[in-house]
């Protein structure tokens, strides 16, 4: 049995003066140095003894001095790395243009934790249960990453490689995430199933996004992202394009989501139950999005 340490193991707290210094330090100590943001996952994992080799915790919060959310009507939304979840939830621009993101951020843990937890941290932690991964993926998020070679853009597509594993290399620090403007008329919905009402991890999480599309037979296009049913988020794109939208068509799309995932049995739930829930929650989420599209309101 894993023995939790009564306190934290020994480590040095490193607060670099610049992004360059931070990237260099992290690259020079690839095994022993870890970057951290809010620390809500980092400190728990350290205490639990997951990272035996960690010697340095490198505080990379707000090294570029831009702990802010900005919205540009042409380029979309940018969320800085030091922005916490509660700020995402409350931000008027997020709520106006990306309400799905606010909804997903609101389902992360508890209010107290959301004052520390960050959107970027949630992405870089790469938990298969991460609540915001689906929304960020479906909105086509692009991370701004600072590495030893300087800045680069890192699209979220292909970013997640396994539980806790991402495309980031030693020295890489995600400084912000940008979301292009959503397709006009987009409606999203996040369905999360926890074991109890508040603050659980997702046993199954379904993110749905739909928008009008005059090029399809249905006049719409839908996308799904599934959490906690595979090592990385399961994405189903371009659903419900072929035929007019009916309840049966939505049921069928939900069935496809069920077929597309391969969950495991674990302490939180069985594979059998998770598959049923992927179908039922996908159906629920797709219907909510459809209702939103019909009413012409972005729904939450």
């Amino acid at each position: 049995m894993r023995e939790a340490h009564p306190g934290l193991p020994d480590f040095d707290y490193v607060r670099p003066a610049s992004l360059e210094e931070a990237s260099r330090f992290l690259a020079e100590n690839p095994q022993s140095a870890r970057p951290f943001m809010g620390g809500t996952d980092t400190f728990v994992r350290l205490r639990d003894g997951f990272w035996k080799e960690t010697r340095y915790l490198v505080d990379v919060k707000n090294l570029d001095g831009r702990a802010e959310i900005t919205f540009d009507p042409r380029n979309g939304l940018t969320v800085g790395a030091a922005v916490n979840m509660n700020q995402v939830v409350a931000d008027p621009q997020v709520r106006a243009h990306y309400p799905l993101l606010a909804q997903a951020a609101h389902r992360v843990a508890s209010y107290q934790l959301r004052t520390r937890a960050t959107l970027i941290g949630n992405l870089c932690n790469a938990s298969p249960a991460g609540d915001t991964l689906g929304a960020c993926l479906l909105f086509g998020g692009i991370l701004r990453v600072h590495g030893v070679e300087g800045f680069r853009d890192q699209p979220l597509a292909g970013f997640f490689q396994g539980p806790g594993r991402t495309a980031l290399q030693p020295g890489d620090i995600a400084t912000s995430i940008r979301f292009p403007l959503p397709v006009p008329g987009s409606v999203g919905h996040y369905e999360k199933l926890g074991r109890n009402v508040l603050s659980d991890l997702a046993i199954v999480g379904v993110t749905a996004l739909g928008h009008p599309d005059s090029s399809t037979a249905s006049g719409h296009r839908f996308h799904l992202a599934l959490a906690s049913v595979g090592p990385v988020p399961v994405i189903l794109r371009d659903l419900l394009t072929q035929a007019p939208l009916t309840p049966e068509a939505l049921d069928e799309a939900a069935g496809r989501a069920m077929e597309a995932c391969h969950p495991i049995d674990d302490v939180r739930g069985s594979a059998r139950y998770r598959k049923f829930m992927v179908r039922n929650l996908s159906r629920r989420a797709l219907n909510r999005v459809w209702e939103g599209l019909q009413s012409g309101h972005c729904c939450e």
């Binding site: 049995m1 009564p6 109890n196 046993i203 939180r268 049923f276 039922n280």
Partner: protein, 792 residues
């Protein structure tokens, strides 16, 4: 809120009792707890001399310990001592001494303490654990109580026959059974053969944990002469004094236990668990305080857990719906040591009819050693687990013969004079009224439409009873000392664990003496050196037992005061009274403040000396009327002091798409004889309901090969306020108890006893599916619906 019942203080009606008994006065500890001023064990400061302890634990569920080499740990700078079982050869245990403080030759569960380290910091102590080398020979584990009773099962305690044991516990030497309690009443086989309906069902209730907000903490210091002081978060300072002193071979008078406020206990801080470890380590580093704190993870598997239970019920009734027979077999998963758990086996046995009048009962209640965490007391002491299955069977039997489950219960429930399962005669009880009021509160008999098309609603009810399960002669004592201005300090040994006992004791003392409530202070923290003896803060027994002692002490002080004043006034004490802090005479109309006279006495007229002296009241209480039970039949004159009864009615809604059960309404009605403080009683009812909901819907220690797979709040989910029903009603029923102060009996544990079966019965009402054993998680309910063809 749909209800104001529990949130708005209301004047309590009907009050023959003197003020402030029956009033919802403000808690004595409210101010210091709200401001953060109140001290808990971890807040106490011991200076730079203090050492920190950590415990090396067995990673194996069952193993022989071949060798322990601590030399590398001892060489680590900062390590002051390493203690193993060699230093603690004595046995410890409340009802059955089957446990060493540290393992000697054998480890019996994952987490069993093998060695203890004291070091200058907690970090060094933790590091030292990795430097202790332990060689084990792994033994086959027993992981199921029904397997454990088989003749060929691996024996956990081959020495069982030689253990010291209380005379009402019956170990079976040469087996894994530390207690077997039997009931043989009437002719069960005949009754079953003649019955109109018979049901037979089995239930497997999982282990759960108490999860108090404050983990266990203990600080021990041993002086140069070997005298011990132990500070800790404890429900049982006096039991700890006794058990630890006996195990270490020292006098109880040389062990002082200081017990500040407890941040939640629910039973896990009763008896002795980790506290003895701190003392044993401190023995080796005399003069230095040694502090041991458990991590939250350790809390889940190294201290007491609520035992698992495998229960088989057969019950029968006649065509009119009269219960005729019950045939029960219980296999309690007692864990590695059953020193406390053996008595739950007994309690389940002598209450095994449930709160019903059943002429023919056969029960075998086995406590079984397994290589699981140690089973100990938890709120309800076995009754929630046992009555979980029993009350589902009652429901099924009622439905089987086509009778309303509530009507069936009312018809069969115990009444004054009923011949109970042990042969004891039932005292006056309000269970029928509890059933009716709980049912009425949720609109029993009406089915409301669900809130959405994909939901189904259901209602369920369950009754309960529970007696204080304790040593028959568990005693209480109290003193009351007056100060110069007439205010007083009440000495007692029961613990304030959040339930409000200090407040209730102050109310009773104020009422019995005739002074205002805010004149009473409690001599706290409880300290075995200065506080009067109290057996333990368990069994919902304080209001009743300690209350009797407090009333006796207060009456003793009152008698001294009245005799003094009567002498001075040349009247008789019978003509005098104390009202609102003044002695008054009904005969002469004279009146005098208590001020001065309660300490300095009164001057004789004409400067002729003084009479009286400092007033010090003392009182004690011990039930002397509980008799033994026959080991073969479980029959005897008076098995217990009394039973508290009650009922809960629950309305739920099930989401057909997820299986999630939402509790919409929960009504609790309990008969506590007399509500000394109605608000505190309601809070107990609410808390018990929510904890009951938590165990019904979420909680389970997931044990695999003896390892707890979910030892943290990440994966051991408990109900939060968001899971509690918006509509909670707490109904007070008062049928006075003849041996209780002001007619009161306990109600702390009872409100979580009927919750699991009430919810199970509501699920059946909603879906037609019997969910069986808890927890009724969304997954369990959904897959049951799939298997029943209710959903696809």
């Amino acid at each position: 809120m749909d209800t104001v019942e529990t949130t708005t203080p209301r004047p309590h009606q009907e009050s023959a009792a003197p003020r402030p008994v029956g009033e919802s006065v403000t808690r004595l500890d409210a101010h210091e707890k709200v401001t953060g001023e109140a001290l808990f064990a971890d807040d106490l400061q011991f200076g730079p001399n203090m050492l920190y302890a950590r415990i090396k634990r067995s990673p194996h569920p069952h193993a022989r310990i071949l060798k322990i080499d601590a030399s590398r740990a001892l060489a680590l700078p900062g390590v002051k001592t390493v203690v193993t079982g060699q230093s603690t050869p004595g046995f410890i245990g409340l009802y059955l001494k089957d446990r060493h403080i540290f393992c000697t030759d054998r480890a019996r569960f994952v987490g069993d303490p093998v060695a203890g380290v004291a070091a200058t910091t907690e970090e060094i102590a933790e590091k030292a654990l990795d430097l202790i080398d332990v060689e084990y020979e792994v033994l086959p584990p027993v992981l199921d109580p029904e397997e454990g009773v088989r003749p060929d099962a691996e024996l956990l305690h081959p020495e069982l026959g030689s253990y010291e044991v209380a005379n009402f516990i019956f170990p079976q030497p040469g087996t894994n059974i530390p207690n077997l309690f039997k009931i043989r009443k009437g002719d069960v086989d005949k009754a079953l053969s003649e019955a109109a309906a018979v049901v037979h069902h089995s239930f497997r209730v999982p282990h759960v944990q108490h999860v108090p907000i404050e983990p266990h903490v203990a600080i021990a210091k041993v002086d140069e002469r070997g005298r011990v002081t132990l500070w800790g978060s404890s429900q049982s300072p006096f039991a700890q004094r006794n058990l630890i002193a006996s195990a270490l071979g020292i006098s109880q008078a040389d062990l002082e236990v200081v017990a500040p406020y407890v941040g939640g206990g629910f039973g896990c801080k009763a008896g002795v668990s980790m506290e003895a470890l701190a003392v044993a380590i401190a023995m080796q580093v005399r003069g230095r305080p040694v502090k041991l704190r458990l991590t939250r993870e350790e809390e889940f598997y190294t201290t007491f857990v609520r035992q698992g239970l495998v229960a088989h019920f057969t019950m029968a009734c006649d065509a009119e719906g009269n219960l005729t027979a019950m045939d029960n077999k219980f296999f309690w998963d007692g864990g590695a040591y059953a020193e406390y758990g053996v008595n739950m086996t007994r309690g389940a046995g002598y209450s095994s009819s449930g709160p019903y009048d059943v002429p023919n009962v056969r029960t075998d209640s086995y406590c079984v050693y397994t290589n699981h965490p140690v089973g100990g007391p938890m709120r309800g002491f076995g009754q929630p687990e046992m009555q979980c299955g029993l009350e589902q069977c009652i429901n099924r039997l009622a439905l089987e013969i086509g009778m309303d489950p509530m009507e069936f219960r009312r018809r069969n429930c115990v009444k004054e004079g009923s011949n109970l399962v042990t042969g004891m005669k039932m005292h006056a009880t309000g269970i029928g009224e509890c059933l009716e009021k709980a049912a009425e509160a949720i609109g029993w008999g009406h089915k409301d439409p669900p809130s959405a098309p994909h939901k189904r609603r259901g209602k369920g009810i369950a009754a309960m009873w529970k007696a204080p399960a304790m040593s028959p002669n568990a005693g209480s004592s109290a003193w009351i000392e007056m100060s110069e201005d007439g205010k007083c300090t009440l000495g007692l040994g029961g613990q304030e664990i959040g339930q409000g006992t200090f407040t209730v004791m102050a109310q009773m003392a104020a009422a019995a003496l005739g002074i205002p409530y805010d004149w009473v202070r409690i001599a706290s923290p409880v300290d075995t050196k200065y506080s009067p003896y109290e057996w333990q803060t368990v069994a919902s027994r304080l209001t009743w037992s300690m209350g009797n002692a407090v009333v006796a002490a207060t009456k003793d002080a009152r008698r001294q005061i009245l005799e003094l004043v009567a002498r001075s006034w040349e009247e008789t004490p019978e003509d005098l009274d104390i009202v609102n802090g003044n002695v008054i005479s009904a005969k002469s109309g004279r009146s005098s403040s208590l001020k001065g006279l309660v300490v300095y006495g009164l001057a004789r007229p004409g400067d002729q000396g003084w009479i009286g002296g400092p007033i010090l009241g003392r009182g004690s209480f011990m039930p002397t009327y509980v008799t033994g039970l026959d080991p073969e039949t479980g029959q005897g004159e008076r098995a217990v002091v009394h039973y508290t009864t009650g009922a809960q009615a629950i309305e739920i809604e099930v989401d057909l798409e997820t299986g999630r059960v939402e509790v919409l309404r929960g009504a609790s009605a309990f008969d506590m004889g007399k509500a000394i403080n109605p608000d505190l009683v309601r809070v107990q009812m609410e808390g018990g309901l929510v904890q009951g909901i938590s165990t019904a819907l979420f909680e389970s220690l997931q044990l695999q090969d003896g390892v707890v797979r979910n030892p943290s709040f990440v994966d051991y989910r408990i109900a939060t306020s968001a899971d509690a029903p918006r509509d909670m009603q707490s109904i007070i029923v008062e049928v006075p108890q003849d041996d209780g102060p002001f007619g009161a009996r306990g109600v702390g544990e009872h409100s979580m006893v009927p919750t699991m079966p009430a919810i199970a019965n509501a699920i059946h009402d909603a879906l037609g599916i019997h969910p069986g054993a808890p927890p009724f998680t969304a997954e369990k309910v959904y897959l049951a619906m799939v298997d029943a063809g209710l959903v696809k």
